[in-house]
Symmetry: none
Subunit: 214 residues, 4 copies
Amino acid sequence: MQRGESVGTDGETRERLIESAKKEFLEKGYMKASLRKICADAGVTTGALYFFFKDKEALFGAIVETPLQKLLEYMQMHFEEDSGPKMLREYEHKDGDHDAFTSMLVHHLYSNYDAFLLILTKAQGTRYEDCVDRIVDMTERTYLAMAENMASIQEGMKVNQYMTHWLTHMHIDAFIHLLTHEPDEACALRQMRRIMDFFVHGFVKMALVPDDED
Amino acid sequence: MQRGESVGTDGETRERLIESAKKEFLEKGYMKASLRKICADAGVTTGALYFFFKDKEALFGAIVETPLQKLLEYMQMHFEEDSGPKMLREYEHKDGDHDAFTSMLVHHLYSNYDAFLLILTKAQGTRYEDCVDRIVDMTERTYLAMAENMASIQEGMKVNQYMTHWLTHMHIDAFIHLLTHEPDEACALRQMRRIMDFFVHGFVKMALVPDDED
Amino acid sequence: MQRGESVGTDGETRERLIESAKKEFLEKGYMKASLRKICADAGVTTGALYFFFKDKEALFGAIVETPLQKLLEYMQMHFEEDSGPKMLREYEHKDGDHDAFTSMLVHHLYSNYDAFLLILTKAQGTRYEDCVDRIVDMTERTYLAMAENMASIQEGMKVNQYMTHWLTHMHIDAFIHLLTHEPDEACALRQMRRIMDFFVHGFVKMALVPDDED
Amino acid sequence: MQRGESVGTDGETRERLIESAKKEFLEKGYMKASLRKICADAGVTTGALYFFFKDKEALFGAIVETPLQKLLEYMQMHFEEDSGPKMLREYEHKDGDHDAFTSMLVHHLYSNYDAFLLILTKAQGTRYEDCVDRIVDMTERTYLAMAENMASIQEGMKVNQYMTHWLTHMHIDAFIHLLTHEPDEACALRQMRRIMDFFVHGFVKMALVPDDED
DNA sequence: GATGAATGAGTGTTCATTCAT
DNA sequence: AATGAATGAACACTCATTCAT
């Protein structure tokens, strides 16, 4: 075998390319990453890469797209069944399964550690660079609805848009911080529960503001 | 005068270059910014740029270095005089000047809006890209000291390293969020006070953990 | 059947490749045409193409070679039996079949419309790119012979090489113009007759020049 | 001098690049021409080329744009002052200066021999590739006007659009043929006069057709 | 102070072609 | 008869940087 003699078994080249790409993207970030280096590291020529992937961004996408889509699905599903102020009650009532969703999210993130690290910190220059913002927006809609629900039963109070946005952002950032600072999943989950307690508390306290303040 | 005929008075070229660079860096980010375009926009050739600045990074530094150093000084000073658990007491005792430091910080950030936006969101590829981390580290040392102080007077409790780090990070991120989402300084300050209340509360609640937990 | 499942009957793949190639070559020209796209359009892989055709040029040849050879044969035959100044007489004497040859030519061109359009306007980069010149050369030999025939019976006149060459070229170009501007064969033939009248007239008038001119 | 040590005198590099480009474009055609080879031949790196020219097409344009614009101006001017059937009369009356315009055209073409050869035969892939068509269109408008003028004074006759278009095309092609087959300007001019006679004759004879024919 | 010219290494990408299976 | 994988050379182009003048 002359061509691809470094290939051990079938269809491995694509896998090797993805593995090399992961390394390079994590090390240098999307923009500074060199396709030539990725190919060299994988032991193939640049042409081979273009057999498997349309372009540089598609290579990046091949690493992150599936885990990201899964994540978005999980969130969408959770938010849709969460039509009432259930989420809050979950925490307040400590009803046992209150953090099933958080557990699942943390597990999904750590099961695709590299992919999410890439999306969250190395995606500048790709169509994923605003990914966090989009997740925040999506989450915020749910939190705003919850806040309005609360406002409707608390006389003289209205929603503080900025604080709701900020709390949402901080909530998402907490997951990012976890991923970038705590490599152990079990540990991460334990901390995340504390953080969630903190956020629920904060949400109750800060999402609303007296009618006469801004 | 053929060369630099758009120069009005002395040393204006450097200023024009910095102004053009600000625009380009803010628009494209450090890495994608083109020195050619900056020079063209400033009405000089690339050679001229290299008379004033050692290289691309030095140009970036010329925009952000001074405001950043000032910020670090402010923080260092504040933290040094804060050798005791004063900061916490400030908030708890609501002694009037409790948020003088926060006000000053917010004011400094908004007085150098562009520079800090660059450092915080467009510095990937420069030596400033880990700037936030360094600020967090610096802040964290003070907060850890405060936490240990608290632990020493609370029987059966110890410092939770991760939570302290995370709270510090969130604190800093709050400033970043402000800068990127709230263009008005007065508004920003108002929100920041709420956030600080939230953090002091969180700190008291989460920085310590029972001796037998992790 | 996974491979080539779109193949209905035997040997159809070759045909589909040729059809796709026609489209691509006509649209982009030989050089800019992409074999990948041709194969994709035909629903096969590039490897398949190389089973049927030696290389890119052979694929082009498979489309144009036969019609071109036929054309050359027709012309050769016509010119050989035309050893005398018959052609001219044909027109001058308007003997009924004077334009039988022209009719046949036009018919052949329009029966292989795509092939001749390719040869005449999209062959840059192939060995057919000088095809027009070769046809002109071949035709010119006959016309030169006719001109010399005429010169031999007209005292004080000699053949004007340049004009003979040019008339030949214009004659061929007339066919090209027809193909590229007049899609209807009947119309084309009608116009061609007018053009031929014009050329015969021109030939009589311009192919010879007084002995003392160049 | 380390850089550009092969430069003999000032500002020569641009000239050398244009000269090398001319050679390469003439030899290979625009599309197959390699910028690397042009640069190597000129003794500079590819970067240098991009200092002088925006891209490949701009390099081509630098060779042909000026001569082409001049030509178009000449033609426009000539056609505008030619509001009547003057052109035809010129030839018919053989009034001495009847071919001043043709002379000028031929002279301009031969004074920029390479440029026009490039435009007319090697421009495939550039924005000049349809240049001949545009010139034909422009010329055709004038010829159509002349034909309509003639038709208005000849009872029972109307303009034959196809023949007018074809005659125009042949007229322009005659210039192209000259350039590609007759290197000597004096010779070219002599032949061109004969050709013009031929065309004027053809125009009178073929541009009109009886009302009842197509 | 600043220009104009040039470098040289690098980029992502495309291509026709090959060949073991 | 055709696939899927891979080659390797080429492509136009961009970049930060240098430096004689």
